[in-house]
């Protein structure tokens, strides 16, 4: 029967892990990570991609997309995760939310109706 780990080599690798924790950190983290933590890491990565797209061309990023982005950050905070987000994008989203409260469009009523409206009682 073969052994899974050679005792001498195993000891050697344990020593290497102690000497170079950075090299082995990723491997350890992946082993210990729960499913939720993995999802959070993936989400952070996706948000990073969104931020990169925004920084590459700020004009192409519509306000509604900025609002969606800020909603994700907000929900993450509510779930107890900390992710500060891209400040410029969050600022853009805040502006969009303020302007959403604006008064609606005003239809032009045509010359005759305006005249009727302006007519005063004699």
């Amino acid at each position: 029967m073969t052994q899974d780990k050679h005792p001498v080599l195993s000891e050697h690798f344990e020593r290497l892990k102690e000497l170079m924790p950075d090299v082995y950190a990723k491997h350890f983290r992946e082993e210990r990570e729960t499913k939720n933590q993995k999802l959070f890491r993936m989400l952070k990565h996706s948000l990073g991609v969104i931020e990169a797209v925004y920084l590459q061309n700020t004009d192409n990023f519509s306000l509604s997309k900025a609002e969606e982005y800020s909603k994700i950050i907000e929900e993450l905070k509510e779930l107890g995760y900390s992710y500060s987000g891209q400040p410029e994008l969050l600022n853009l989203a805040a502006k969009f939310m303020i302007m959403k409260a604006k008064k609606p469009m005003e239809k032009a009523k045509g010359a005759t109706q305006k005249e009727k409206k302006d007519r005063k009682a004699m």
Binding site: K95, I98, M99, E106, K107, A108, K109, G110
Partner: protein
């Protein structure tokens, strides 16, 4: 020998009710007329004449009802030179509602080309530009609409919101105060809450 000449007798006309009979459709070309309207082409738009008096009024009525035909009637109003500026302005609103902001700006600026002091067009352009995130342009158009129609409260409210977004809090307070001055009492609550918050920030 005498000759008997028959007296011409016309057959008596049938008196009483007369049945309607289907007549054969005459071929107009037999009478020298070119029959151009024998069949309608498939793509002929069938539009009824405006009930409300003009194409513009009909369009406005349909627009208020949320009827999609409003757009066709606004275009007919423009073709027939009826309230062209107002029709262009309202087409801009329709396009903005459909999410076509580029077309909305096109119609609204066409309106301003004909009448640079069209207050609704300036106000609506303010709304379109704020939807696009161009707050500086939105500010200019709200200011112009307030200049042309100083008694219209909503220009001041929306201008106030733009000024908040631009972090010009003192000017925003002035603008929203002006709204409160002009707007009916039922609309004061939200505005007063905004002013309260702004006063706390501006201190």
């Amino acid at each position: 020998m005498s000759r008997v000449v028959q007296f011409p007798v016309s057959t008596p006309e049938h008196l009483g009710p007369k049945k309607a009979r289907r007549r054969r459709k005459p071929n107009l070309e037999d009478y020298g007329q070119l029959n151009m309207f024998d069949q309608l082409p498939d793509n002929t738009p069938i539009l009824s004449l405006p009930k409300a008096g003009s194409f513009f009024e009909e369009a406005l009525q349909l627009d208020e009802e949320g009827n999609k035909d409003a757009e066709k009637y606004y275009l007919l109003a423009i073709e027939n030179d009826q309230s062209v500026e107002d029709a262009l302005c309202n087409l801009g609103i329709l396009k903005s509602g459909q999410g076509d902001l580029t077309k909305a700006i096109d119609h609204l600026t066409q309106c301003l080309k004909r009448n640079p002091r069209h207050f609704e067009a300036h106000y609506n352009l303010g709304n379109v530009y704020s939807d696009l995130g161009n707050l500086e342009l939105a500010k200019v158009h709200y200011e112009l609409s307030a200049e042309i129609e100083p008694e219209y409260p909503n220009s001041y409210y929306n201008l106030g919101l733009v000024l908040i977004s631009l972090k010009k809090y003192k000017e925003a307070i002035q603008s929203i105060n002006k709204f409160v001055e002009l707007a009916p009492r039922s609309e004061h609550q939200t505005a007063n809450e905004i002013i309260k918050t702004l006063n706390a920030i501006a201190k």
